[in-house]
């Protein structure tokens, strides 16, 4: 191991990698404001990280790596701008509109550049897939190749998607700012949706390598933590962090050692991450205390009730059902209504739930949704209507690609066929 200036190469490399993970968003967000252009900002930030390797080995690791990197990247951006002044002045730049006529009072409230970056990446004028890609690249600093792998597209496709989105930001002058109070709830919802999508992409793993997927989950969690540190008073940010924590607390128990999917009822509750569940619970309580609960806080509350119950049967299903009723009010989605039938079956029995489910099945938006036949099958199974249950399990299998889920459904199908017409007709 070589040393220079008393700092070992490995220590410097470790510090740079660490700063990349922790400080990327901070450095890029501040540099973008000076550069007025995301491409130039990215370039300068990359260069700053590269020059850190030499500079830190020579002069020692700075006390505030983020500040060092930001100063270096900004200086590089200013150099480029000076060199290319004539050319660059003709290019559209990121618009800040600080102290402009609209919402000026609210804009002072959140001065951190990282928030501007997040809100610009998740601007509603960008397609959602572009929002997700930009957030991963610009906010998380994930390489284009890794983003492409996570979303199962070629690196070329992902690079084109990112370029198109950045071009739209500058050509259409999507402003580099945090929206004012009047727009904040809607715009924040778009940000939370992107982070949640990042998480579920990692969590549900339709396919792809495990490693990349686990990283997505961690990135989503740290992104939400960053957002919460920047917007500590937003109950929905707390709600999302709580939801991710409590859901992730069960990560290790979602499959058995053979990779077979375990439903909530079968999971080993003693192996759940109690610290994460407790942190989630505190966040939910905090969110509810504000009196402004939205869909993420409500979903987190439901997840918390599950996480805290001694067993599936001991779950406070009445309260779960009540929370689903509230959730439907703020988020009238057919998927929420469908999930509510599971709680309904535990409070009022499988027949009441099945009646409700058949009403929901008329909604075209649920056509092709694999959990509709899966839940129908389970309710029929519990009612002892095994032949109908078997048919519903087959329908669910037709719609499911995930190997672990297919195996689960196939096992249930086999059990239903076993208990079906052959046996029950005799009795």
């Amino acid at each position: 191991m070589s040393t220079a200036g008393g700092v070992s190469t490995t220590a410097v490399e470790r510090a740079v990698v660490d700063a990349h993970r922790r400080e990327w968003a901070f450095v890029l967000a501040a540099t973008a404001r000076v550069a007025g252009d995301f491409d130039l900002a990215e370039e300068c930030v990359q260069e700053a990280y590269v020059s850190a390797l030499d500079a830190w080995a020579r002069d020692g690791i700075p006390r505030k790596p983020g500040a060092w990197l930001t100063a270096t990247a900004k200086r590089k951006a200013l150099d480029v701008l000076r060199r290319e002044r004539v050319f660059r002045t003709k290019l559209p730049l990121l618009v800040e509109r600080e102290g402009a006529e609209m919402d000026e009072a609210d804009e002072d409230a959140v001065p951190d550049d990282r928030l501007r970056l997040v809100f610009t990446c998740c601007h509603p004028a960008l397609a959602q897939e572009a929002q997700v890609a930009l957030t991963m690249r610009l906010v998380c600093g994930i390489s284009t190749g890794d983003i492409a792998k996570a979303f199962l597209v070629s690196e070329h496709t992902m690079a084109a998607r990112l370029t198109r989105a950045k071009k739209k930001i500058s050509a259409a002058r999507i402003p580099y700012r945090v929206p004012g109070a009047s727009e904040l709830p809607e715009r924040l919802d778009a940000v939370l949706t992107v982070i949640h999508l990042l998480y579920t992409t990692g969590h549900t793993a339709p396919s792809g390598t495990d490693l990349v997927r686990a990283d997505l989950v961690d990135r989503a969690l740290s992104l939400t933590r960053m957002l919460l540190s920047l917007m500590p008073d937003e109950p929905e940010v707390r709600g999302l962090l709580a939801l991710l924590l409590v859901t992730d607390a069960r990560r290790a128990t979602r499959t058995d050692p053979a990779g077979r999917l375990l439903v909530l009822e079968e999971q080993d509750r003693t192996a759940w991450d109690r610290a994460a569940i407790e942190e989630g619970r505190r966040l939910v309580v905090g969110a509810f205390r504000t009196g402004r609960v939205g869909r993420y806080a409500l979903q987190a509350a439901i997840a918390s009730l599950h996480a805290e119950a001694e067993s599936y049967a001991d779950t406070d299903w009445r309260q779960v059902l009540g929370l689903y009723d509230e959730l439907l009010k703020v988020w009238p989605s057919p998927v929420v209504a469908l999930n509510r039938t599971v709680a309904l079956s535990m409070v009022r029995g499988p027949q009441a739930a099945l009646d409700e489910l058949e009403l929901l099945a008329r909604d075209d938006r649920l056509a092709g949704y694999r959990y509709l036949p899966a839940i129908r099958a389970d309710l029929l199974r519990r009612l002892g209507r095994h032949d109908e249950a078997a048919a519903a399990y087959r329908a669910a299998l037709d719609l499911t690609d995930n190997a672990a889920e297919r195996e689960f459904l196939a096992a249930r199908l086999a059990a239903a066929v076993d208990s079906g017409s052959g046996r029950s007709s005799g009795g």
Binding site: F87, K90, P92, A100
Partner: protein, 113 residues
């Protein structure tokens, strides 16, 4: 300030003499709302109904708009606004969004050499 082309799409044939009174009333109020939101209409035009359009493709001249669709371009204006957020706020208030659509496109400014 940036300039945007605001394209107004309305149900065919988008005859400006056929606009209902309540639409005209909203249209009357529109310029004041644009100013209030921080924008400025540089220039704008309504078009005659799409039944008066003639399309040339290659060397072939045909009667009507260039594609047969339910909605046609009814008019357009050039809007000056500080950024896309302001432009979108202004576009959202246009009465054409009720039964048609409004497209916001930045104007192309050729780079200096």
């Amino acid at each position: 300030m940036a300039q945007y082309g605001i394209l107004i799409y309305s149900p065919a044939p988008a005859d400006p003499t056929d606009l209902p009174p309540d639409y005209l009333e909203l249209l009357d109020r529109y310029p004041a709302q644009v100013e209030e939101l921080g924008g400025r209409i540089v220039t704008g035009f309504a078009l005659q109904p799409s039944t008066t359009a003639t399309t040339i493709r290659g060397g072939v001249v045909t009667d009507g708009p260039f594609v047969e669709v339910k909605e046609v371009v009814a008019g357009f204006f050039v809007l000056e606004a500080p950024d896309l957020d302001v432009a979108l706020r202004i576009a959202k208030l246009n009465p054409a969004t009720r039964n048609g659509a409004v497209e916001v496109r930045p104007l192309f400014v050729p780079p200096a050499e």
